[in-house]
């Protein structure tokens, strides 16, 4: 119920904004206009949304796995960290237009290059937060494990990793929120389908309401994915805050 009220409230705010600022339809159409297009072009939009949703979900899955693996590797090995951490940071600074030709060269124009591009955007918050979490393990637990003759691998997997799950959840939330833009960026690598593609195309042809209908769906997908991830993340960390009495 409440999310519905919020949604309606936000749409009304948007409608009011377009009225109040007098912003032209071809720059920011009011939701009423967008709604009309949404109904008229429903089939087209759904088709493209399915495409983008697939990219988002694959990208997020790949990003989460890749991010988690990298964070664990960084936490386990100073050697790897020294070499690969700068690469990971730098990977965030590279605009899609610089890397797209490379991806196409290596992965072709199919889904693979798009998912790879999306994952490149999505994986970073996961690496970063999880690695931070892995660095902040309670010293008491580490001492205890040391007296128990635990090998570093067991400490990492059985103590540091579970202890860092709240941090992972934090990273996964960010990853879910950027998944839509990851998918759209992936579509830049050379797509002929997807909401991002539809958006670019309709913006180029002045069909702003259609572009915003696509954007609206993209946002819905984003919210849905975010909430799904949020729920999963909460389930991941059922215990109280680390110091809980």
């Amino acid at each position: 119920m409440r999310p519905l009220i919020t949604a309606i409230g936000l749409l009304l705010a948007w409608e009011a904004l377009t009225w109040a600022t007098g912003v032209p339809v071809y720059i920011l159409p009011p939701p009423s206009r967008v709604a009309v297009v949404l109904v008229e072009r429903f089939d087209l939009l759904m088709e493209q949304a399915a495409w983008t949703a697939a990219e988002m979900i694959l990208g997020l899955a790949l990003g989460l796995v890749l991010g988690a693996v990298l964070a664990v590797v960084f936490a386990a090995s100073a050697g790897w960290r020294r070499w690969a951490l700068p690469l990971v940071i730098v990977s965030q600074a590279i605009p899609v237009i610089a890397i797209a030709p490379l991806l196409v060269l290596w992965l072709g124009y199919g889904m693979a290059s798009k998912v790879a591009m999306a994952a490149l955007v999505i994986f970073f918050p996961v690496v970063s937060t999880l690695y931070d979490g892995l660095r902040r393990t309670d010293q008491g637990w580490l001492d205890l494990a040391q007296t128990m003759d635990a090998c570093p691998r067991a400490v990492l997997l059985q103590i540091r990793l579970p202890a860092a799950l709240p941090a992972f959840a934090s990273g996964a939330r960010i990853a879910a929120a950027v998944a839509p833009i990851g998918a759209v960026i992936g579509e830049w690598v050379g797509a002929s389908a997807g909401l991002g593609y539809l958006m670019t195309q309709s913006l180029a042809r002045g069909q702003t309401p259609l572009a915003f209908a696509a954007l609206f769906l993209l946002c819905l997908l984003g919210l849905a994915l975010y909430h799904a991830t949020d729920r999963a993340a909460r389930r991941l960390v059922p215990w109280q805050s680390p110091q809980g009495e």
């Binding site: 032209p24 071809y26 720059i27 237009i97 060269l105 050379g190 002929s192 195309q201 913006l203 180029a204």
Partner: protein, 292 residues
Amino acid sequence: AQEKVRVLLDWFVNPDHAALVVAKQRGVFAKHGLDVELIAPADPNAPPKLVAAGQADYAVSYQPTLQMLVAEGLPLARVGVLVAQPLNSLVALEDSPVKTLADFKGRKIGYSIAGFDEALLGAMLESAGLTLKDVTLINVNFALTTALMSKQVDGVIGAFRNFELNDLELNKAKGRIWLVEKNGVPAYDELILVAKRETVDVARTKKLLAAIAEATAWLKANPAEAWAIFSKSGKELDNDLNRLAWKDTLPLLADDPVALDRARYETFAAFLVKRGLIKQAPATASYLRDMR
């Protein structure tokens, strides 16, 4: 006092904008009482919309874009022309097995601007007895030459004849080119100036176009000196590609930026309707303003 004028370019500064840049640098605009600011966006879609929204006085745009935007209801009007012929073309590598348009059957073609490039290509293929269904279309979004040279595609539509061939040459490749207007597409104006329909300032526009005409005449007469001025106006402009493109571009610049061929717009609008890009041709009177 100088009248302030803001012109949005269609894309990064390049030799297509020679007349504008030279007119500004040599003080031709100032001579006509104008203080012109040239702004380059990274997204070629935005400028006409921003002009329609009153965020700038003029935008450099393309005839097909203008006609599609007008058909969608944007209050825009064409007030002048910079390049009065198509620049777009279909390009393949010379050493590829594609020798004629018909050879594209079953091959991959890259394109940039969804919808429009498809329409051009469709018309061209039909002129050679093929249809769009005979080729695989791939959106390469940018980097047309890269896609071509790395053989990811066999041809690209959307290549500008004055640029992409030179770009290939600089990368030690040779291209084979099919001009759109020679292969089933009606001729159109590639680069035009648009303004917001309701607020066209006729007097100022006339001054602007006069300055452009004067600059065009001067730079065609003094290409070397003009290149020096152009390449010094921005450090990033002085490069081999621009140097090569410069000589190919100058002859293409419209000598008379005021010229207006209504029939050309009507024919092309009909073409757009036929290709399904717009539903109905807008009345030319509504968006063509003669500045004579």
